[in-house]
């Protein structure tokens, strides 16, 4: 959820800035380049190598990293996201992705296996039948998209933290990385994975999770923005290495905590 259809416009920003700079008279051009506040840096986050030493993009990325640390400090592992009544559930709940519903993964239950990799003692893949037998919680929480909209939904499934313990994951590791059927990836830090509302969701609104919302499994994280709640999850990796993610690599804040 929360994967937007927004993509970076198909303009080569580096060339645009170079062209713009060439149009300036010489002294102004020098100042313009030396100042580092290039057009590319002001408008986009990609390909700003006009200035070698300093660019707004680098500064913004550093501040975003700093904001990750601030948010990890603010995060209270025991603070629960507000919950709501059944009547407040948004029906139909929005489908949101960078592709249309027709293009969404169509995972077959019979072929499905949750693959486990990384720092995990028991890497045996899990079938859907096995996963469905785990004790399930239900939550009615607000999904908040990075775009700004929000919608209340109902999700059910086992706690991710309990599952990580069951499979013998090294809980001293920094991250759990999620791999999805369409190639989408995202990461969560270990404290967030063990938040009591972080859930491996197999049901939405008391029904088997529909394809639109991530069949067969979504990881529901009400303490993080929607794009940190992966759908169509087919693999989990426990790791100390930060490997980014689909939207994180475009520049969305890594932590994106709520």
């Amino acid at each position: 959820m929360g994967r937007t259809s927004k993509i970076i416009p198909g303009v080569d920003q580096t060339l645009l800035v170079k062209d713009a700079a060439l149009l300036l008279p010489d002294p102004a051009r020098r100042r313009f380049l030396a100042g580092g506040a290039s057009l590319g840096a002001l408008t986009l986050l990609t390909g700003c190598d006009v200035v070698d030493s300093f660019s707004a993009e680098d500064v913004l990325k550093k501040i975003s990293k700093f904001n990750d640390a601030v948010q990890a400090r603010i995060f209270d592992p025991n603070k629960l996201a507000p919950t709501y009544s059944e009547s407040m559930i948004k029906r139909p709940f929005p489908f949101n992705a960078y592709y249309t519903l027709d293009e969404a993964p169509d995972v077959k239950a019979s072929e499905y296996k949750l693959e486990l990799t990384g720092m995990i003692a028991n890497k045996k893949p899990w079938t859907l039948d096995e996963l469905y037998k785990l004790p399930q919680d239900k939550q009615i929480t607000r999904h908040i998209c990075v775009e700004g909209w929000s919608a209340i939904g109902s999700w059910s499934g086992p706690k991710l933290g309990d599952f990580l313990k069951t499979i013998g994951a090294d809980t001293s590791a920094k991250y759990v990385r999620f791999i999805c059927a369409e190639g989408y990836t995202t990461c969560l830090d270990m404290p967030t994975c063990f938040h009591p509302q972080t859930q491996m969701s197999f049901r939405f609104d008391d029904q088997i999770l529909p394809r639109a919302y991530g069949y067969p499994m979504k990881v529901r994280v009400p303490t993080r923005l929607g794009f940190k709640n992966p759908k169509y999850v087919v693999g989990m990796e426990v790791t100390n290495e930060y490997k980014g993610g689909y939207w994180e690599d475009y520049g969305y804040n890594d932590y994106s905590g709520l």
């Binding site: 986050l45 995060f75 996201a81 700004g148 009400p222 303490t223 905590g257 709520l258």
Partner: protein, 214 residues
């Protein structure tokens, strides 16, 4: 700061010497003013780009007047400039209270005074001779924009952390409502900004005072 005691003296000497000696805007006010100007413009322009990703109303902002190029870029700008805005804003509010500048400059204010000064302004009779003393309309606008600044920061915090700061989010009527509050606080600040800039251009010595102090 020493020049401030003279600010009550509306009937002060208007000789060139006195004019020269009098500091209308102390250095700390000028510094925080211009840092705030830069931070506010970055916040507003990146905020418009963020708004465009999921508009609350049936309009979007032209991308030529937004900052960041796309949602992800705008968010990076917004959550970087917020530090500048908030730290600088705290310095301003604390200094304004501690030095007594707020009390001296913004008080007293009365509804009758606001009405009188509004009438005087609209009929062109409002004096701009003494820039160090604010009329009632100025006081109202400056108090208003400081309050709008407080609301825009608090509503912004409540949207950024609606789980960790959920009590604050509840004050604004929940996450979706906080977005609306944040929008209107922005609109109030932009409205102030338009009037502020127009008046600074109409009374250029006020702009000079904010740059060189006198």
């Amino acid at each position: 700061m020493s020049g401030m005691t003279a600010s009550h003296d509306a009937a002060r000497a208007d000789g060139a010497m006195a004019q020269k000696a009098k500091v209308i805007q102390p250095a700390w006010v000028r510094v925080v003013h211009w840092i705030n100007a830069v931070a506010m413009i970055m916040m507003i322009m990146s905020g418009w780009q963020i708004y465009n990703a999921s508009p609350i109303f049936s309009f979007t902002f032209p991308t030529t007047i937004t900052l960041g190029g796309w949602l992800g870029g705008a968010l990076l700008w917004h959550f970087a400039a917020m530090w500048l805005l908030v730290i600088n804003g705290l310095v301003y509010v604390i200094a304004g209270l501690v030095t007594g500048r707020f009390r001296r400059k913004l008080l007293p204010i009365s509804p009758a005074g606001v009405i009188d000064d509004t009438r005087a302004a609209l009929t062109g009779k409002l004096s701009h001779d003494d820039l160090s003393t604010y009329n009632n309309v100025q006081k109202l606008l400056y108090i208003g924009v400081i309050l709008a600044g407080v609301v825009v920061v608090l509503s912004g915090l409540s949207m950024w952390k609606p789980v960790q700061f959920q009590e604050l989010t509840a004050v604004f009527g929940g996450y979706d409502n906080a977005r609306v509050v944040h929008f209107f606080a922005m609109a109030a600040i932009v409205g102030f900004l338009v009037i502020h800039v127009v008046l600074a251009v109409l009374v250029p010595k006020s702009l000079r005072a904010m740059i060189i102090g006198r």
